[in-house]
């Protein structure tokens, strides 16, 4: 893990007083969230379904805009349009509950999508793909279409894709939520292992307490607010 991949103050992600509502304010999902995620750490964001975990992750990842508040990733403001695209291309990787892969493309083609967006040189992109595929045990599946892959393989593919551009922050929204227990444990092991070996800060939304307990830190969310931070281990 290289320390130069982290922000100077050691905070990879900082959210201040983040509010989000829907239906013109009728439904308030986030109510002034304050959150700091230390660089290089794995953080679990726990809470019941509907408490706002996914909404917060989407805002943190620049996929949505907040009504109020600021979100900084390694010093850059996610909510600022000028920074958002650069962050999405170079600093942030996403793993969703549903793998969100394009079914008509092969595993390799799906993984290469972020490199098209970031403009990574073709040879470098393929080398990176080979490396990640090897580490996630997908080397022999590169030319398989997504429909031909198992649930675990799909989620490992999504992990590869998220790491293609060597992001500094990996946001995972219930990454094992759609998998059976055994596959879930295997994918989670891989997630932690890859995050550690890549030197990536991991923020993972989950309601699986057992998985959360294996992270460096646990953040409890309730009714659109952060209620407590606790060292998970």
């Amino acid at each position: 893990m290289s320390s130069q991949r982290f922000a100077k103050d050691g905070v990879a992600l900082r959210a201040r007083d983040v509010w989000k509502s829907y239906d013109h304010g009728a439904i308030t999902v986030l109510r002034g969230v304050d959150l700091e995620v230390p660089a290089g750490h794995t953080t679990a964001l726990c809470g019941a379904s509907g408490c706002g975990k996914s909404t917060l992750l989407h805002l943190l990842g620049g996929l949505d805009t907040c009504d109020r508040g600021t979100i900084e990733i390694n010093g850059a403001e996610v909510q600022r349009e000028a920074d958002r695209l650069r962050l999405l291309r170079h600093e942030i990787g996403f793993v969703f509950q549903l793998h969100n892969l394009i079914p008509d493309l092969t595993l390799a083609e799906n993984c290469l999508i972020p490199t098209v967006a970031s403009g990574m040189e073709r040879r470098a992109a393929h080398a990176r793909l080979a490396e990640l595929a090897h580490r996630t045990g997908l080397s022999d599946r590169l030319n398989h279409r997504i429909q031909k892959l198992s649930g675990g393989e799909r989620q490992r593919t999504a992990l590869c894709r998220a790491l293609m551009n060597k992001p500094r922050l990996l946001l995972a929204d219930e990454p094992t939520g759609s998998l059976d227990e055994r596959t879930s444990a295997m994918v989670f092991d891989l997630l932690l292992e890859m995050a550690a070996s890549e030197g990536v800060t991991l923020l993972m939304a989950t309601h699986d307490r057992a998985l959360a307990a294996r992270c460096d830190r646990l953040v409890e969310m309730h009714d659109g607010m952060i209620h407590e931070f606790a060292p998970a281990r």
């Binding site: 989407h58 990842g61 996929l63 291309r89 969100n100 967006a117 894709r161």
Partner: protein, 370 residues
């Protein structure tokens, strides 16, 4: 490569819809190419009649149609006597009809006229052209559809004429026309002492400005134009050309609507996919580029197929015996270029709204989209 794959994948995913859109563009391009080529060919043929072995055309100023132009014999004589004129051929145009053919173009000409001089005489000879007052020379096509043979009498309009010659010319209008001695035509069409136009060959091209000036001073009711000037400015030609492009344009507009429909459906069915691309760092422009790229491929293939279909159609029309000589299937490179460019532009224009829609898709909402 992946970008191209993203474009092509969606076309393959909805192959029937993509093929239908391509067919729409193809038929539009074929229609435009065929109509424009045929009408331009017709204009070229008519221009060919007028410019037969000549550089200039003299006709009555401000007439909308050459059939209404009246150039007096005296003016013909004056112009023929001008020092810079090599020869001046008066031509009277008329439309006649027969029982089987409602429209036959009739040319009242002198025996010296280049149309008679340069044609291949299948029967009869030019020397006999003015030997009788009721004699006509038929183009080969006209002889066929009038079922007339040398020496026979054919009813044309309200009179009957004797066939004193049959000639072959490469011009469809002439080949399907009737040639009368100028004096007989003037009498038949009640235009005594007048022609429709004079086609003029000058001794030197350098004399063109002087000739124009001289005609203006001696016969202010007439106008002398270079053949190219005439083709460019003659309102009938302009109307024909505009009509051709308008008809083709309407076809392309329909094709474009087909593309727009396909692209809108394409965007609607891949909202989630677009969200995935956005979440992976694709910019608005890259997303729009995929939609426009799809449209460009549909239009491009459609245009290519349309060109093939159009060219084949022209070839078929050209080889239909009944149309022999009337269809000039020469496709002008500029027309090909314009048709392809219009097809691509129409396709891309049809994809603008879908692309705009795709660019506005918000990843977070679309990821929830099932």
């Amino acid at each position: 490569m992946i970008f191209l794959k993203l474009i092509v994948t969606n076309l393959r995913r909805h192959a029937v819809r993509s093929l239908l859109s391509m067919a729409g563009i193809a038929f539009s391009v074929a229609a435009m190419l065929t109509v424009v080529t045929i009408l331009q060919g017709a204009v070229r043929m008519f221009s060919g009649i007028l410019s037969s072995n000549s550089q200039m055309i003299v006709f009555e100023r401000d007439v909308s149609d050459l059939f209404f132009s009246s150039v007096p014999n005296a003016a013909v004589r004056r112009i023929a006597a001008m020092p810079m004129v090599a020869h001046a051929d008066p031509v009277l145009f008329g439309i006649v009809s027969s029982a089987s053919h409602p429209i036959i173009t009739c040319f009242g000409v002198t025996p010296e006229d280049s149309r008679l001089r340069d044609a291949t005489w299948i029967a009869g000879n030019r020397g006999d052209f003015t030997a009788t007052s009721d004699g006509v020379v038929l183009g080969q096509r006209a002889a066929e559809f009038l079922n007339a043979k040398m020496g026979e009498t054919v009813p044309i309009g309200h009179s009957s004429f004797r066939v004193i010659g049959i000639l072959k010319t490469p011009n469809g209008f002439e080949d399907g026309g009737v040639f009368m001695p100028l004096a007989a035509a003037q009498e038949f069409f009640h235009k005594n002492g007048a022609s429709s136009v004079i086609t003029v060959k000058l001794r030197s091209k350098d004399d063109i400005p002087a000739f124009k000036k001289l005609v203006q001073s001696t016969d202010p009711d007439l106008i002398a134009l270079k053949n190219q000037e005439f083709s460019r400015t003659y309102s009938q030609f302009k109307i024909l050309k505009a009509t051709a492009w308008a008809v083709g344009g309407c076809g392309l507009l329909l094709g474009g609507m087909g593309v727009a429909n396909t692209m809108i459906m394409s965007v609607f069915t891949r909202i989630r996919e677009i969200a995935i691309l956005r979440a992976n760092g694709f910019s608005h422009l890259q997303v729009g580029g995929i939609v426009l790229g799809e449209s460009a491929i549909v239009s491009g293939i459609g245009a290519a197929v349309g060109l093939l279909v159009g060219a084949s159609l022209l070839l078929i029309l050209k080889n239909i015996a009944a149309l022999d000589g009337y269809i000039d299937a020469t496709m002008h490179p500029l027309v090909l270029l314009a048709v392809v460019a219009l097809a691509l532009l129409t396709g891309i224009a049809g994809a603008l709204y879908p692309a705009f829609y795709a660019m506005r898709i918000r990843a977070v909402e679309a990821l929830r989209f099932e």
